[in-house]
């Protein structure tokens, strides 16, 4: 009985906190439906009297959100695909092949994953500019294509995989490439999905690099397009319309985050119910480097 009370209390606290955390987002949606006059009211109004759904259309057209979202999506998908490809290949070599210098390279990857991205901002711009890639999509995408954090995370995942299937494949005459592509990668699919999710979210929310590399007239990503118009204030759009754009461009990111969270919550609950050690792959990976804890992944969230 006591335990039940505790559970209910905890749920209540957590649910209430979730609501508190969601308040800014809910308020954002609410203001995005107001008229400009309502949004400036003192004291601020909580909900619009007459929801202006037209704000979404005006905002979308006024800011060219279609083009912005297309650039962002292209960038995110490219980054995710290449981070998975290069990261998995490197992680496979580090986790499964024996060669001199392996440990040194792993140490190096850890160090690289810990370098704050702000430190690399100026030199990356100088280099990309020297290669003629500034104000180009190439320059926008270049730094995001490989992530040391992804290599480190996938190394951990691969290391935790059982060796049995691999050894069986090798006995059947499979080479390194076949073992990698047919045995290791399929087993690690959930982890690859996690890498993809974080790569996409990082591109969706990154602002500083796009702002810097396209500072003349280069291609813009969604967050940058919005932020630039907020700062310059010359978009001809009202605050509710801008917020409507903000809500629109956040929908894909929030959907991805929700999917990942839901999948994780399900596996975690299932694992707790079924076994002592749990069946989820994440469980074998030291929590410190898991991207969900939040590990060595690049993120610009502030």
């Amino acid at each position: 009985m006591r335990r039940n009370w505790g559970t209910w209390g905890a749920t209540l606290v957590a649910g209430f906190s979730a609501l508190v955390l969601a308040v800014p987002v809910l308020y954002e949606i609410s203001v995005s439906l107001m008229t400009p006059v309502e949004s400036r009211a003192l004291p601020p109004a909580a909900v619009p009297i007459d929801p202006q759904f037209a704000n979404y259309l005006t905002g979308w057209n006024g800011i060219g959100a279609g083009g912005l979202l297309f650039t962002t999506a292209l960038l995110a998908v490219l980054a995710a695909a290449l981070q998975i490809l290069t990261g998995a290949a490197a992680a496979f070599a580090l986790a499964r092949l024996r060669f001199p210098g392996r440990r040194t390279i792993i140490r190096g990857v850890i160090v690289l994953a810990a370098i704050p991205s702000i430190v690399l901002l100026v030199p990356r711009y100088v280099m990309v500019d020297a290669w003629g890639w500034s104000d180009e999509f190439t320059g926008l995408a270049a730094p995001a294509l490989v992530s040391a954090g992804a290599v480190l995370f996938l190394y951990q995942v691969f290391r935790a995989l059982p060796r049995g299937p691999e050894e069986a494949a090798r006995l059947d005459g499979a080479g390194h490439w076949r073992v990698f592509s047919r045995v290791v990668v399929p087993q690690a699919r959930p982890a690859l999905a996690v890498v993809a999710g974080f790569a996409i979210l990082a591109q969706w929310r990154g602002l500083l690099w796009p702002l810097v590399v396209s500072h003349r007239a280069g291609p813009e990503v969604a967050e940058q397009g919005l932020a630039r118009r907020l700062v310059e204030g010359a978009s001809g759009l009202s605050v509710p319309e801008l917020l409507a754009v903000g809500v629109t461009i956040a929908v894909p990111a929030m959907a991805i985050a929700a999917c990942v969270a839901l999948a994780r919550a399900r596996t975690a609950t299932a694992a707790r119910r079924t076994a002592l050690t749990g069946g989820s792959l994440e469980r074998h990976v030291p929590a410190e480097v898991s991207p969900l804890t939040p590990g060595p992944f690049e993120h610009q969230i502030l």
Binding site: A14, P123, R124, L226, E288, P294
Partner: protein, 589 residues
């Protein structure tokens, strides 16, 4: 045993030879630079003599030996013209009359051509006479460049590298081998770098010296042709520019600016001919032969290291069959990620230091070396200190947020429905820019963004909300890893909730907590978007300050200096992250 010993002998010889060949390559490079200088100078001087001793307009006229002798005396005593020069009229030396005369065979071999030739230690250029195809004399220039200041260093480093290589070879596949090999590799790398830069500097010096001396000749020759327009002069004096190019300088810059432009290395040298006439002397493009030589020297310096590693594998191959094949495969798997990380993560660290120590403008690019002046400049501005101070205050929210997030995660873990978890995870993925605006829109009404300080504290609250949303799922993931049986056992033993937290959850979760805390701090220090969109009264956080220095004021060098300072400040946290992430990562197999 014998085989290994032979191995070590061979390896030692190879190591020493590789360093020696690297030295020979760079020494050859320097000699090549000297030779180029002598050849160019000889060609310029020959063209000068041919030009000034031929009466203009009338030709062909037999050369007047007395006038030629006067010209040679003038040449040898021209101010600022210093080459070790000898001029032969026919076979007779004119500058130093006691020198041995020129062999007829030399003149014969020069007669058919107009480019200089290199014989034993000097460049010989024919002086064309008034009739085409005839040679009246020869100019000989011996290279005498300023002494090579790095030579003693280079020799010392050469000896050290060779010694280390020999020792590393004798230690081949013994216990301390890796250490010796590392020392040898480092030394070889340093040697290669110093040697290549010395050779490069010699080449540069020689080009600059030739440019300046040729400018003296062209000035002198030009001052004799008072009324010829510059376009005609550029054509007439073309031979004096040797393999460089001479163009009329038609820019309208003031005299001083042009003179200053000539002092920058690599830029065309302006020559004043009087009467407002300017010519511009452009040095020849850098020789690919020299670049190739530098590459050869660098490769040779490292060849010994590579060879030693290869020999070591060869010796160990009997114990591990298929090892070389596995190593090659591993490198192929590593190559894509490795190349990218090398190009866009490792190399930028060097570029950062380079930019921070040079003058670097957003639009015009790199400039002169200024050393630590940029860092001093950034540090001397009050803006920097206020930005760094506010960033530190801003980042203080991280520990508090981590504690709150841990508490919420402990609560949410016990919730029977995953809905609570999802609700906790999703909000932070809303657009940060929009979040900044909505907070500003709501809070500005209460005057919270009216001055930088209240704006800072407001930003702290916004950032805390965003970070909590980000950290709760991280803690949940960490908590899921703790086997539930531990808590169940503790409950059976009658442990209270607080005891279970203190004795089970907290110790098992500690690395996760540290990781989240560190990431929170690093993320906070790099915070940009919120400050960017909530301006103009928003606090000038470090990342925003860096952006404004670099891309608003266009001073990339100052931005780089600030980035270096930030890197130093964040080094402690990064080192702790490396320690935590690296724990148990590297297995012993």
């Amino acid at each position: 045993m014998t085989r290994i010993t032979l191995f070590r002998w061979a390896a030692g010889c190879a190591a020493v030879l590789s360093v020696a060949s690297a030295y020979l390559a760079t020494a050859g490079s320097r000699r090549l630079a000297e030779r180029r200088y002598a050849e160019r100078t000889a060609a310029s001087a020959a063209a000068y003599l041919a030009r000034v001793s031929t009466p203009k307009g009338v030709q062909p006229v037999p050369l007047d030996p007395a006038a030629f002798l006067r010209r040679v005396r003038v040449l040898a005593t021209l101010p600022d013209w210093s080459p070790d020069v000898e001029v032969y009229f026919g076979t007779a030396p004119l500058v130093h009359a006691t020198e041995p005369s020129l062999p007829l065979s030399t003149i014969a071999s020069l007669a058919g051509q107009d480019s200089p030739e290199w014989f034993s230690g000097g460049a010989y250029a024919p002086i064309p006479g008034p009739t085409p195809g005839r040679v009246v004399g020869v100019v000989r220039v011996r290279p005498h460049l300023p002494g090579d200041a790095t030579a003693p260093w280079l020799l010392g480093l050469l000896g050290l590298t060779a010694l280390l290589g020999a020792v590393a070879a004798t230690q081949l596949r013994r216990r301390r081998w890796a250490r010796w090999l590392g020392a040898y590799a480092l030394s070889a790398l340093a040697f290669g770098g110093v040697a290549a830069s010395a050779a490069h500097a010699a080449l540069r010096t020689s080009t600059i010296q030739w440019l300046q001396e040729t400018a003296v000749l062209i000035e002198d020759a030009g001052s004799r042709l008072q009324h010829t327009p510059t376009s005609a002069l550029a054509e007439t004096f073309k031979a004096m520019a040797a393999d460089g190019t001479l163009t009329p300088d038609t820019s309208s810059d003031p005299v001083l600016e042009r003179a200053l432009a000539g002092t920058r290395p690599g830029s065309p040298l302006p020559i004043w001919l009087g009467g407002g006439r300017w010519l511009s002397l452009q040095p020849p493009p850098e020789d690919w032969v020299v670049t190739a030589r530098h590459a050869v020297a660098g490769t040779a310096a490292l060849a010994g290291t590579i060879l030693l590693i290869a020999l070591s594998w060869g010796a160990g191959d009997r114990a591990h069959p298929g090892r070389i094949e596995e190593t090659l495969s591993a490198w192929m798997f590593l190559a894509p990620a490795g190349a990218h990380l090398a190009a866009l993560t490792i190399a930028p660290l060097g570029v950062l230091l380079w930019v921070a120590m040079h003058h670097w403008d957003l639009t015009t690019g790199g400039g002169a070396f200024v050393g630590l002046a940029n860092v001093a400049d950034v540090l001397s501005h009050a803006d920097t200190w206020s930005a760094l101070g506010r960033t530190a205050l801003f980042a203080l929210h991280a520990p508090v947020v981590t504690a709150i997030a841990l508490f919420l995660a402990l609560m949410a873990r016990r919730a029977p429905t995953p809905l609570v978890r999802v609700l906790l995870v999703v909000p932070p993925f809303a657009s940060v820019a929009a979040a900044g605006l909505i907070w500003k829109n709501g809070l500005a009404a209460w005057g919270l963004f009216s001055d930088p300080w209240s704006a800072l504290w407001t930003l702290v609250v916004i950032a805390a909300v965003l970070q909590i949303g980000y950290q709760v799922p991280a803690f949940l993931a960490g908590l899921d890893r703790i086997p539930g049986v531990l808590w169940d056992a503790a409950v059976l033993d009658g442990a209270s909730a607080w005891t279970r937290f203190r004795r089970i959850t907290e110790p098992l979760l500690r690395p996760v907590t540290f990781s989240i805390l560190l990431t929170g701090i690093v993320v906070a220090v790099q915070g940009f978007t919120l400050a960017f969109v909530t301006g103009p009264n928003a606090p000038d956080l470090a990342a925003l300050h860096l952006y404004q220095l670099g891309w608003r004021q266009g001073r990339l060098d100052l931005a780089a200096a600030l980035a270096v300072l930030l890197a130093v400040g964040l080094a402690v946290f990064a080192a702790l992250q490396v320690r935590i992430w690296g724990r148990g990562v590297i297995d012993e197999t």
